[in-house]
Subunit: 238 residues, 2 copies
Amino acid sequence: MGNEPAHTVTRYDQELDRLRGIVVRMGGLVERQTAQAIAAVVDQDEEAAIEPPELDTEVDAFEREAEMLAIRILALRAPMAVDLRMIVAVLKMSGDLERIGDYASSIARRAMKVEPLDGAFSFSPLRAMARLVQENLHKAIEAMVENDSTRAMEVWNADTAVDELYTAMFRELVTYMMEDPRKIGPCIHLLFVAKNLERIGDHATNIAERVYYAVTGNMLPAVRPRGGAARKDTHKDS
Amino acid sequence: MGNEPAHTVTRYDQELDRLRGIVVRMGGLVERQTAQAIAAVVDQDEEAAIEPPELDTEVDAFEREAEMLAIRILALRAPMAVDLRMIVAVLKMSGDLERIGDYASSIARRAMKVEPLDGAFSFSPLRAMARLVQENLHKAIEAMVENDSTRAMEVWNADTAVDELYTAMFRELVTYMMEDPRKIGPCIHLLFVAKNLERIGDHATNIAERVYYAVTGNMLPAVRPRGGAARKDTHKDS
């Protein structure tokens, strides 16, 4: 059995599966980091704020592992076509996942600094935004796991709503700060929370774009549904 | 001559050079975007604010071109060892460069929204931060162009100073907003400018890490000089 070519193919498939397994686990980790970070903020749950930064080390280690394994597969197996595109997508996506984990940790670290707003401020726009971002992130990771270009396309189309919620929240928070300057510190932390959430949404969209390309061999247009130069947030506060 | 093996090697070398050329040009573009965006803010130069977002399309196109060419080289040439590591580094670095361009555009878009602070606010801490970030970015790109691991190490070590300047600026701005709530809007834009600058610095560090790995085959430690969990900004406002 050891000298049959089929054996080589199987080993190769196993390596590809292991590589996919790494990004799938990374995806699970950053989803968890994001969920906990959001709970920490909106429910003022001190416990939930602890784990996200701790998981960062694990996420970083997975990113390095993915890179090492990808290089190994590229060197030993000279993969072609869809496999090659998948490996390149994994290299890129692991970077996006690492950033997501980073933003989630940053949100978690701000969670308790938002406390003075408790009672006086409604977290509902943030909750709505968080729900949407988590949904997109989950779908993007599902698309990645299942090589599902249709699902990837869905994520890519859903990004606009997140941007709109962010803009609404930004305006609300600025008004709120003007009315009560003592709340400026916590409000700024909340603004950064919202900005980080929005960036998590951007990276979910990136992942969707990469899945789409890996699966179909076609790239989605350079301009996202946000429209023209607006892609990179001209219409927002930036 | 056309049938000599040397010919193939030369074609291969040309392709690798072209790939390097793409990231070098990307590097030049994002350096320019960053310089203009900073000038737009600190000198309130409306002209300088125009180009960075426009250049984004070009930077994005280069990122895609780099990816396409990398896939082509991987498929046709099955590169090994240092070449393979270089190609993987290029794939990763083009992502970092794209983010830098994105942050620079975001800074440029905020430039004129900072105007109401003119006269009342000193831009000197921001200037100091910008100088440092631009220096690191320039060095990181030089290290990339010249495959210089020593220079890469320098960038990697310089990141801490940027973080400290950011923290100082954050505190100063919060105090300033509390004293004059009418300035909250422009101050927030300036905070985001500082945050974006800091992120540009982070990506310059990433590039340095990738150059170091591509050249030496060794990865820099997972923990950056900022120290321990602090790597991802525990000691800052986040």
